[in-house]
Structure formats: C-alpha cells, structure tokens
C-alpha cells in the first residue's frame, strides 16, 4: 500500500465522526522505484491531505518532506522529488492501519489493506 492509497482510506465504523487519517503501524516497508511524473504529482497535490501524508511518511521512515507545503513549492524540483518519493515510492507491505477514534485495527498483508468491517461495526 503506498501513501497515495493511505491518503484516501478512512474508517467508516458506525458512530465514528472522523476516521481519517488511519494511523500506520509498520512491520515491513519496501521502497519501490516509480517513474517521476511532475504533471501527475501536481494534479495529485490538490487532491491529497498533505498533513496526513507528512505524518505517514515519517512513520514509514522518511523524514525529508517539509511540514507544510504551498502549491508554489510544486515548481521546485527538489520538493517535487521528495513529494514523489513519499507519495509513490514508500510501500507498506506488512503492517496495520488503526482507526483514530476506535483503535480498531485493519491489517495490511502483501501490500493489500483489508478494510472489511464486522457485523456490529456497520
């Protein structure tokens, strides 16, 4: 699961008012090289929750992404590459996503999150 995906997942357990972002518990992170595509990144920047990405990337072991970002920073190649690395190249292969309100744990196995809810959670 890369952080672009993590940035769109939320916990929709019954009664939860804010299930985003899910807290990450790392067991295995893999770095995968992905083609650098500035246009794609610029499009994505508008759609993602940047703060959640920064927090998540730190947990995944990458501390280079600045705490805050403005759209103007997309013109900087240096920032774009850091953004690219955090968003696209860090993969959680094994670990857990944790609901910020209930503490409910959603496993991630072989890079695939399992977000199925139990009967009493819907």
């Amino acid at each position: 699961m890369r952080l672009l995906t993590h940035n769109m997942l939320s916990s929709n357990i019954k009664g939860v008012t804010n299930g985003f972002p899910l807290r990450i518990e790392v067991e295995k992170v893999v770095e995968k090289s992905v083609d650098f595509n500035p246009d794609f990144l610029k499009n994505m920047f508008a759609k993602i929750e940047y703060k959640a990405l920064v927090e998540a990337s730190r947990i995944m072991g990458y501390a280079e992404l600045p705490d805050h970002a403005e759209p103007s920073m997309l013109e900087s190649d240096d920032f774009l590459r850091k953004f690219h690395h955090a968003l696209m190249e860090l993969h959680l292969e094994e670990g857990t996503l944790v609901c910020p309100e209930t503490g409910r744990r959603f496993p991630v196995n072989k890079g695939v999150p399992n977000m199925l809810l139990h009967e009493d959670e819907v």
């Binding site: 699961m1 890369r2 672009l4 995906t5 769109m8 997942l9 939320s10 916990s11 929709n12 985003f20 995968k32 992905v34 083609d35 794609f40 499009n43 994505m44 759609k47 696209m88 196995n109 072989k110 890079g111 695939v112 999150p113 399992n114 977000m115 199925l116 809810l117 009967e119 819907v122």
Partner: protein, 335 residues
C-alpha cells in the same frame, strides 16, 4: 417504500388481475433486498454468509477464469446477431467498457476527464487497469476476495501500472473512503452481488465527487408491469438456482435501480437494456468450459466453480425468456 399487506388485503386487491400474491415472508425478503427497511438479525447473518460465499467463490474461481478469459471478468459487447469467434471476445470486453463510458458521457477532455476512479467490485483489476491507462490517472479497486486483490496487484505491477492502480479488500456496502472522493464511480457486473441495493447505491453516490459519473452495469430481472408485485413462480425458481451457484442475493429490476437513484439528488439518470448486445457471451463461455483445458481446469478448481459452470445454461435460458436483463444505469452527481 412497499407496504407489507396482509394476505387477505392482497387477495382482495389482486384477485381480479390474477397476479401472483406474495406472502408476508416473500414481501419482507424483497423489501430487505432493496434495503429500504432495517434488516433483522436473521437477514444480517445471511448477509455475512453471502459475503463469505462471494469471497470464497472468487478466491476459488478467479484463477481458472483468468486462465481462459483473461483479466476482464465481464460480458463482451457485440453487434446484435453477429457470429463471433473466441478471439473476438477480449475486444468485445474492452468494447463493453468503452460503450459504458460513452453511455454515461464521461468527458475525455483533459480538463474535465476523471482524475480519480473507484472500481467497485474490481475482480482481478481488468477495468481498473484499463481506466487508469485510458485517463492517465489513478484508480483504486475494492473486492471482498483477498485472492483477487493480491492477483490484481500482481497483474497491475506486471503491466507497469503499480503506481496508478491500487486494490483493497473492502465491502461495497461500506466503502472505506471519505465522502466525495472519486470523479468516476465504476461498478461493472458487481451490483448483482450486493444484498442491500439501496445501501449499495447510496455508497456509490456518497463516494462520488461533485460532477462525478456513476456507472452501474449489472444483471437485473425484467421490469414488472404495473399489475405485478413480483415475478411468477417459474421465473423465481430459475433465478433461485442461479443465485445459489453464483452467490447472488435476490435480484431486482432495472426500474428498481432507477427508483433507488431518484431520491439522491443525482442528475441525468439513464438506463438501458443491453441484453441483445451480450447474447453471444454465455454460449461462448459454455464452449470454453467444454474444451479440454476448460474441463481439466474445472475439475482441479473446486466444487464452487464447477457448480457455477453447471448453471451457465440457466443464464442462457433466463436471457432467452426475457427474464434476465443485462442493464446499464448511469447518472451524474451535481457540481
């Protein structure tokens, strides 16, 4: 919302039309399947059983399907009354995607085309890959089957699309996404698995962003006439056999889908019957199952898959009788 009438009230109302009277239990099942009422504990347990059945069915049979048919697990779109050979089917499956996008008027203009896509009931990711490539953007797929999700991931990676498509094990009735996330909400032949149609449709609408298109391509039963409360017993018997083998809950009609979409403030609700465009599909699937490769694969795959294969002629029968319809329903969320 349908009212549960007593048998006496129903017999008074319908005795002259000769339409079949549903008993209380059947009415409750029909209502529950549309999802318009709170479901009781028995229904909830059945839903859990159904979801497990669906996951296991696809865990078991995805491999053999992929082996013979490739990564698109949906009908092909054919010119009516055409004769097709086995090699035409993949192109027909791709055409099905394109025709559905066209029907929904999904924009191709670089400024207006979808920038985020969800594939609800993604199988092994055939549609996800195609859509991500077509629009040059990211797509995420959800499936109840962990085997499918993992296979989808591997296939996408093999095509160099790992950075554009992702897959999660998740429930279409409780999608793990915040509201308004996706510009294109895609459900290609997964609707027939959804036990609570209202909830399914509500979730599709919830995760759709302003201006997004929602596309549902699914198996329905024929629309009921105004004097009918349900299908006739023979029709129900045929569908029940199919439901059992394919892990399908009670079917609904295309009209039912339209009625469920109407209260959700969606625009341009369109529906069509595409049954004539998919006619060559089931005969082709049956033929492929009867090849040497088909038979040996079935024997090796497991009982659920074999049962599914045995029921294929019933699908053909259902289409021929005008009972089963291949439907497309699309709409747009307002800006």
């Amino acid at each position: 919302m349908l009212q549960i009438l007593s048998t006496k009230q129903l017999s008074t109302r319908f005795i002259h039309t000769g339409a079949r009277i549903l008993n209380k239990k059947e009415m409750a099942v029909r209502q529950a399947s549309l999802g318009g009422v709170d479901v009781d504990l028995e229904t909830k347990t059945n839903v859990e059983k159904l979801k497990r059945g669906i996951a296991e069915f696809y865990d078991e049979s995805s491999g053999i399907w992929e082996d013979i048919w490739g990564d698109h697990m949906h009908h092909g779109f054919y010119d009516p009354n055409s004769t097709v050979s086995l090699s035409d089917h993949r192109a027909a499956q791709v055409r099905m995607i394109e025709e559905a996008l066209k029907f929904a008027s999904v924009p191709e203009d670089p400024m207006k085309k979808p920038k985020s896509i969800v594939d609800v009931g993604c199988g092994i990711g055939g549609s996800s890959q195609y859509l991500a490539r077509k629009y040059g953007t990211e797509c995420t797929g959800i499936t109840l089957s962990p085997v499918q999700a993992e296979r989808a991931r591997a296939l996408a990676a093999a095509q160099g699309l790992e950075n554009k498509v992702s897959f999660e094990v998740a429930d279409a009735l409780n999608q793990p996404f915040p509201d308004g996330k996706f510009d294109l909400v895609w459900s290609m032949e997964s609707g027939e698995h959804m036990p609570e149609k209202a909830k399914f449709v509500n979730e599709l609408a919830r995760v759709a962003a302003p201006g997004a298109r929602i596309i549902i391509v699914t198996w329905c039963h024929r629309n009921l006439s105004s004097s009918e409360q349900s299908l006739n017993p023979d029709e129900k018997k045929l569908l029940d056999k199919i439901c059992d083998a394919y892990y399908l809950p009670t079917w609904c009609s295309t009209d039912d889908y339209v009625k469920l979409l109407q209260p959700l403030s969606l625009q341009d609700i369109k529906a069509a019957d595409w049954s004539e465009y998919v006619a060559p599909f089931w005969p082709a699937v049956i033929r492929s199952a009867l090849t040497w490769k088909g038979i040996t694969s079935l024997i090796l795959s497991g009982w659920k898959t074999i049962k599914g294969a045995m029921v294929m002629p019933l699908m053909m029968k259902g289409y021929k009788k005008g009972l089963i319809k291949f439907a497309i329903i699309t709409c747009r969320k307002p800006e």
